[in-house]
């Protein structure tokens, strides 16, 4: 008793002292830092609403507010087409990544089969391989596999296939790792009961494991959505026709159109629109983003 009250007293004293000095300073520093992280996006919004004549001025509130930038920015090129392309590629690869890594993760986490632990070691090892080592041979493979005229191309290069099909084949090791870690820890009682009732493993996976794994499915879906939406190197390598571009490639059109320094107000307007889906999803599903990061951190143990 005497010891605990002394601790409590000591804590009270220190927190009171800290309130006076360090905690107020710490709060001010933290608030200042947080402010610095927000400023760029505010500046982006401000720039996107400036007239060309107003661009060089350092003012924050544009005079006048040039809302028409958001119309003018998209007045050239095939923005509807590019948006659709981004949506198709992102959507198809997200669905594929979630389904395939959930299946593979279930196999690694819950089924017993010879060679499983060895192969899981291989999964982890592939995380170490730099993307560039496989970039060139993948390009060569995709320039050889026939596409039979799909999207007007003889081979997979210059179609959406290289950007989507790998996701259906358990594309990234990290996503499999996430799935496996989660599925290992869902309670077994339900699946044992279903097994005794004669349910097939596929059925157990679909109607028991998947519903119980919603948090990790959401995390993988969000990570994949973000990665696919923002991917630049993939589309740069594989998409040649302008009509097949994604939004990330399309943003470069401002520079090409200007032959150098782009119209920054239009570019910022377009950039903000391209960022928006990820920003909105982040604000709604922040906790799944954080979950993904925390599991990443734990992977280091």
């Amino acid at each position: 008793m005497a010891v605990t009250s002394r601790i409590a007293q000591a804590q009270r004293m220190t927190s009171w002292q800290r309130f006076k000095v360090s905690r107020v300073i710490a709060w001010l520093i933290l608030a200042g830092v947080a402010f610095l992280f927000v400023v760029p996006v505010v500046w982006m919004l401000s720039t996107s609403l400036k007239t060309s004549a107003d661009l060089a001025n350092p003012n924050w509130i544009p005079q006048p507010l040039a809302w028409h930038n958001y119309r003018d920015a998209f007045s050239f090129g095939q923005w509807g087409r590019w948006t659709l392309n981004s949506l198709i590629i992102t959507g198809v690869s997200t669905v594929g990544a979630v389904l395939s890594t959930a299946l593979v993760g279930y196999s690694f986490g819950r089924l017993r089969w010879p060679g499983r632990d060895l192969l899981f070691g291989v999964v982890l090892a592939t995380m170490m391989v730099p993307e560039v080592v496989v970039m060139i041979p993948r390009f060569i493979i995709f320039s050889r596999i026939p596409a039979f005229g799909f999207q007007g191309s003889d081979v997979w290069v210059n179609t959406f296939l290289p950007l989507t099909v790998p996701s259906w084949l358990g594309a990234t090791a990290f996503e499999i790792f996430l799935m496996r870690q989660f599925m290992r820890n869902i309670p077994v009682e339900l699946s044992e009961a279903a097994k005794i009732d004669g349910a097939s493993e596929l059925r157990i996976w679909w109607s028991i494991a998947l519903p119980l794994s919603r948090p990790v499915l959401a995390t993988v879906a969000i990570l994949k959505f973000q990665g696919a939406w923002q991917d630049f190197m993939g589309p740069l390598l594989y998409l040649q026709d302008e009509s097949k571009y994604t939004l990330q490639l399309a943003l470069r059109q401002f520079e090409f159109a200007a032959g150098g320094s782009p119209a920054w107000n239009h570019l910022m307007a377009a950039s903000l629109v391209v960022m928006l889906p990820v920003l909105v999803i982040f604000l709604i599903f922040q906790r799944y983003f954080v979950q993904g990061v925390n599991i990443t951190g734990l992977a280091g143990r």
């Binding site: 391989v129 080592v133 060139i136 996976w205 960022m275």
Partner: protein, 327 residues
């Protein structure tokens, strides 16, 4: 805990079935599970063979050849590797890349740890601050690269802000001396992920350790040195390793900022990073005409070797300073 319980439970179940009554059923059951296991894992197995294992073997082979995709690879032995040793652009690229690794890593590590510690002080508004610091990290991509090119313009937002303090800001991405510092400044906007990993690690330190130290009258500095740093050392180690691996592979940022210029790698090759050089070599925008898949493959394997050596070195060194709790 749960896993081991599950294993013993399954073990008992199996043991009960194995008991001489129905041996044939067991045989079929375990074989069926093995088959299901392989089938469920088959998407990854196919993907791995097709898109990782085979490409790695092919790329290793290609690195000993002259290969432009159109004609068959021509075996030239170690010539590509010899050429790398004498390629001045490789040294420029390595120098630029190591600059980023050496300067960016410690800055990112210490700034993000500092912010994480502030967030761990139970201050009012912590959740909002955490969101504001983290959200830029999810906005990677071409859009945010352009945003920073605009902010770091010679008359951009940052230089205007510096001017308030009487500092005459550099012209960042157009001055070869300042392109890499510019990239580091820009990189600071994306440290939210690092901050969150540190924060989770800090929150995992048992409060009792600090209470015990306080009773012993330890100063804040001693607590930092003897409790906080050892306890979060696994997180520090993990982040150093992953940050270095990531920094070695910088591509998109440098490609966008210097991409549309005829001079690849920005003003006076100051942003010619290793992967950017490799990409341009492979797709024939630098060096002799045509696609140079063989030479680029050799470049890729040299990079892989460098990353591997550095990672293994860090792993060996980690035994000296990373503290793993044994529960």
């Amino acid at each position: 805990m749960r896993v081991s319980a599950q294993d013993t439970q399954a073990g008992q179940l199996e043991g009960a079935i194995v008991g001489q009554r129905r041996p044939r059923f067991t045989w079929k059951l375990s074989h069926r599970e093995a088959l299901t296991g392989w089938l469920f894992a088959s998407p990854w197995i196919i993907g791995f063979l097709l898109f990782t294992a085979w490409p790695m073997l092919f790329s290793l082979y290609a690195s000993f050849t002259r290969y432009n995709i159109i004609q068959d690879p021509e075996w030239i032995g170690l010539q590509n590797y010899q050429q790398i040793i004498h390629d001045p652009r490789v040294y420029t690229a390595l120098e630029n890349t190591f600059y980023m690794v050496l300067y960016k890593t410690p800055i990112v590590m210490s700034v993000s740890l500092g912010i994480a510690m502030l967030l761990n002080m139970d201050l009012p508004g912590e959740k909002l601050f955490r969101t504001l610091i983290y959200f830029p990290s999810v906005l990677a991509g071409v859009a945010s690269i352009y945003l920073w090119q605009w902010i770091l313009a010679p008359n951009g937002l940052l230089n205007n802000a510096l001017a308030v303090f009487g500092i005459n800001g550099p012209s960042w991405f157009t001055d070869p001396e300042w392109t890499k510092p510019g990239l580091i400044v820009m990189g600071m906007w994306f440290i939210g992920t690092n901050v969150l990993i540190y924060l989770a690690s800090l929150k995992g330190i048992p409060e009792t350790l600090y209470e015990a130290a306080e009773i012993d009258g330890a100063s804040p500095l001693r607590k930092m040195w003897h409790i906080t740093l050892p306890m979060i050392s696994p997180a520090i180690f993990f982040q150093i390793v992953t940050t270095i691996i990531g920094t070695f592979q910088i591509f998109t940022t440098a490609y966008i900022i210097s991409g549309t210029r005829s001079n690849i790698g920005g003003p006076r090759q100051s942003m010619l990073f290793y992967v950017l050089y490799l990409y341009n070599r492979a797709f024939g925008r630098v060096g002799p005409a045509g696609l140079q898949m063989g030479y680029a493959s050799a470049l890729a394997w040299v990079l892989f070797a460098i990353i591997l050596v550095i990672t293994l070195f860090q792993l060996a060194m980690s035994k000296r300073w990373v503290y793993y709790e044994t529960s």
